[in-house]
């Protein structure tokens, strides 16, 4: 580990960037495979289970299991996207058309850097969150950068010079801007709660998890129990923000062919795909940190207590891995919930989406904020 610290700041930054890409791309790919499998199992099908490279066919038990899970379809899909012809239709605005997928990737991968994904204890026994950039603005940075993601959709829809893509882009912008409000308002009660008057204010996500690992009944409560309405509004807005069913207006393939990425194919299309799954991952991670106690294994059982039982105090690496495992488990469960809902609920009509966003969720989020502001003021008086 020491040689890592001796590297120059630029090298470190590049290494971290590569690490993010190397982790996010496979996870997003695996999520796309999981999506196909979950949809298959929900529809009483086996799902993709055919691809099998010859040298894996010789592995006795693991080979067939991987085949049945469709693990090699993932590789096949990735390779296919990589080597397919990079088609650019003649009627598009070339520069913006090619730029759009990259613009989609930038916020999707940037937001990961401020999301803590685990914790370990230093020699003094302090809990140090595992995060690429532990900035104090935390959640604010996530919101600020992730809302840039809509530009990629607008850019793609507009540069495609096709009516379906254009409609998809317009829907995307309207929807994402509408739900951003409820999303932001829904998390404010959490930060009102943790930023008691007189203490140093913070928007750090790690700090939120610390508050959910305090001892005592109220301290150890996950915020989903303390603020269920906030969690619900946040979750629904998250579905809308990540363009997932039942809110996948920008794509809505039954009325818009493919929505904003109608004209895209091959690797550029898969970049949109990866960006969508990265957004889902970051969204799930933020939800886990805010409402599901981050890397705490169970409600009212903090990670510090668990590592005390297991004696992990002197093993920062092991503690980090276990906390990462707990955190990833929660995130992947949330991803499963995303897919589960997708294959259950039909898509809303566009006017319904707008109505839910502006007439239901926004007033609910505002009322929720006011109630919690008054409650917190009354409790902390």
């Amino acid at each position: 580990m020491d040689f890592l610290l001796q590297l120059g700041p630029l090298t470190k930054v590049i290494l971290k960037g590569i690490a993010v890409i190397a982790v996010m791309f496979p996870i997003a790919g695996a999520c796309s495979m999981a999506e196909r499998k979950v949809s298959a199992w929900i529809q009483d099908r086996p799902g993709p289970n055919r691809a099998l490279p010859p040298w894996f066919a010789w592995v006795p038990v693991l080979g067939p299991i991987l085949q049945r899970l469709g693990a090699f379809h993932l590789l096949a899909d990735g390779l296919k996207f990589l080597f397919k012809e990079q088609q650019v239709p003649r009627h598009v605005n070339r520069f913006y058309f090619i730029a759009a997928p990259f613009v989609a990737m930038i916020p999707a991968l940037t937001t990961v850097t401020v999301v803590p994904f685990g914790a370990y204890f230093d020699s003094a026994g302090h809990l140090i969150p595992l995060v690429l950039a532990n900035v104090d603005v935390g959640l604010l940075a996530v919101f600020a950068v992730s809302s840039l993601g809509v530009y990629a959709l607008i850019l793609a829809g507009w540069a495609s010079n096709s009516k379906y893509a254009f409609l998809g882009g317009v829907r995307a912008s309207a929807q994402l801007i509408s739900y951003e409000l409820s999303l932001t308002l829904a998390v404010l009660p959490v930060f009102i709660w943790i930023n008691a008057p007189g203490t140093a204010g913070t928007m750090s996500l790690a700090r939120v998890v610390e508050f959910q690992s305090l001892p005592g009944f109220w301290g150890g409560t996950w915020f989903i129990f303390l603020m269920p309405v906030s969690a619900l509004v946040f979750l629904i807005s998250l579905f809308a923000e990540t363009n997932r069913q039942p809110f996948d207006m920008p794509e809505s393939e039954s009325d818009l062919v493919g929505g904003y990425h109608t004209e895209y194919g091959a690797f550029k299309w898969s970049l949109f795909f990866v960006a969508e799954y990265s957004n889902m991952l970051v969204g799930s991670a933020v939800f886990t940190l805010l409402f599901l106690g981050g890397w705490n294994p169970l409600p009212w059982l903090s990670f510090a207590t668990l590592s005390g039982w297991l004696g992990l105090g002197g093993h920062p690496l092991l503690a980090g891995l276990i906390s990462l495992g707990i955190f990833l488990g929660k995130v992947l469960f949330l991803i499963f919930v995303f897919m589960w809902v997708r294959w259950t609920v039909p898509r809303f009509r566009y006017d319904q989406v707008m109505k839910i966003g502006w007439q239901r969720l926004l007033p609910l989020a505002i009322a929720n904020l006011i109630v919690y502001a008054i409650a917190v003021a009354w409790i902390q008086r």
């Binding site: 979950v38 199992w41 929900i42 529809q43 009483d44 099908r45 086996p46 589960w340 809902v341 294959w343 259950t344 609920v345």
Partner: protein
């Protein structure tokens, strides 16, 4: 009596929030998530063919090994898409079935035209053509998709014959010559 007024209750708050409905939907899909698959793994597993299935039309032999088709060409004429083409011919002397008089020299069914209607089977007076169980035909060229006579007999095989009408006819003709 004709009109039954039904009271339409306004939706309750829970129904309007749509969340209980989503929850029950999630319950249903979760049940299916753990249910065994309904899929037939086709090339490895084959479907059971029900009796009376109309698959690829074939020609059959009778139990004595005689080809039953007498090239009357009824099937050729009835075939709605004109998929059947028969070249009739005399049966050669010394083959033992000269009394049948005619048999097909060539019998082609173009499977790119065939619509599997089964009218050839229905119209055949000799019970010589049958739509049997084969349901999948494939080929790389148009020529490969035309079933010739040998292929048709290979697909059809031998089916039981309760009447053996040509044997009876031959026996009757031998007993009472002149009443042919």
């Amino acid at each position: 009596m004709a009109v039954i007024p039904v009271e339409r209750k306004p939706l309750s708050l829970a129904e309007r929030s749509y969340l209980p409905q989503i929850a029950s939907g999630l319950k249903t899909t979760l049940k299916h998530f753990f249910r065994p698959n309904q899929t037939l793994q086709y090339p490895e597993e084959r479907p059971t063919i029900p009796p009376g299935y109309r698959g690829v039309p074939t020609l059959v032999h009778d139990p004595a090994g005689r080809e039953k088709c007498v090239s009357c060409q009824l099937c050729e004429f009835v075939c709605p898409p004109k998929a059947i083409r028969i070249t009739p011919g005399q049966l050669p002397e010394g083959s033992g079935v000269e009394h049948v008089e005619k048999g097909p020299i060539a019998f082609d069914i173009d499977m790119l035209r065939c619509i599997y209607c089964g009218m050839c089977q229905e119209v055949c007076p000799e019970e010589a053509i049958f739509l049997q169980n084969q349901f999948s035909m494939s080929g790389y060229t148009r020529d490969e998709m035309v079933n010739h006579k040998d292929r048709l007999y290979e697909l059809g095989g031998t089916l039981p014959d309760r009447f053996m009408k040509w044997d009876k006819k031959k026996a009757a003709a031998e007993q009472a010559p002149g009443h042919g």
